[in-house]
Symmetry: C2
Subunit: 214 residues, 2 copies
Amino acid sequence: MAIPRAAKTQRRTRIQEEKEEIILEAALDVFSVNGFRGTTIDQIAEVAGMSKPNLLYYFRTKEAMHRALIDRVLFTWLEPLRAFDANGNPESEIRSYIRRKLEMARDFPRESRLFANEMLQGAPHVEDELRGPLKALVDEKAEVIRAWATAGKITKCDPYHLIFSIWSTTQHYADFDVQVRAVLGQEHAGEGRFEDAARYLEKLFVDGLGIRRS
Amino acid sequence: MAIPRAAKTQRRTRIQEEKEEIILEAALDVFSVNGFRGTTIDQIAEVAGMSKPNLLYYFRTKEAMHRALIDRVLFTWLEPLRAFDANGNPESEIRSYIRRKLEMARDFPRESRLFANEMLQGAPHVEDELRGPLKALVDEKAEVIRAWATAGKITKCDPYHLIFSIWSTTQHYADFDVQVRAVLGQEHAGEGRFEDAARYLEKLFVDGLGIRRS
DNA sequence: TGTAATGTTTACCAATCGGTCAAATTATCT
DNA sequence: AGATAATTTGACCGATTGGTAAACATTACA
């Protein structure tokens, strides 16, 4: 009778899963470049290769698409930080954290830019998640770092700003990709730039934090 | 008779200077948050406290406003890098460069976000400036850094990625301000965070680059 | 195979978009 | 003060916006 909104159904159809995936993929393309306000449903529809009302059959509003994307990104985005192990030794933990974050910048630049766009706008949709789960996780890992410093494994430093500096340096290669390419020029802008960055950043942090090399 | 567009006049009126300043100030507010596509002329007009046609009397199009802003920001943004002195000693040059960039993140966050927005969108309006003047300036300073390494004043490292890492770590405090505040929480989010960041970053880079302290 | 639920599209809506126009107002200069 | 140039605004335009209604097409399942 009335239109049975996809969201209302109990079981998700095969078509629903496929189409929702296609839509979110297209939405990520557009949102990550133009931000929320700058994105139109028509743009997403065109990239997704379906009609606008069809998008709105799966996601009632533009907000709903954005929300679904943000939720997904927020979760996977913190994976590397969660993997940060208190029992590991500082050198390998820092090194692999940097490497993992750089890999994400290389392999998921759109997700990084979506997040960056949200931050630039003042996090209107995710401020609660920042103050809650994110802060809690960072607090926990900051304590690990502080313990390392107390144990003399690394030099004393502000663990929060340490985490910020790893975030910013790695995400830079996704968010400011155009600038990085332009400055490096044709000759050094090949995909090798991520390995160069990894080599440079690992050394910067290992030496900068006074980590005894093993 | 016909409307004498402000742009056509030879001498700039006092009113012209004042109003153009007010408009650009308002435009910076809105563009820096919502990006180019996400910004409407009506929004700018409301912030500026004048009617939309009045804005368009001073700037013919939305692009013109954005262009004027970007040009202004691009110039002042590179000031700290230009001040980077080949004859200075590495420690003081690096330290003051970091400090200057952090001061800009603190005092001109909107300008930083405007630039970040432009980068996220793939620099559609400024790609030429990146490949031209910016690359030239970075190339020049990279040579300075390489010379320092050759002279044994700092450890060998990729000068381009070094510059990227200073850019990213400092601008982070402007572009990701919400996140920084949220993670630091009420207690540490006061204005002291910039001094904490300066202390941490200066140490990170001085030690990380193997600079002999004087 | 038939039919009910699910999926898709064309046509459309009111609101907002960037921008124009002409009339009205204000500042400037003699 | 009066004339002229500069400034400001309300009314408006066609295009685009987010979203809806309803008819049509397809799928899943008895």
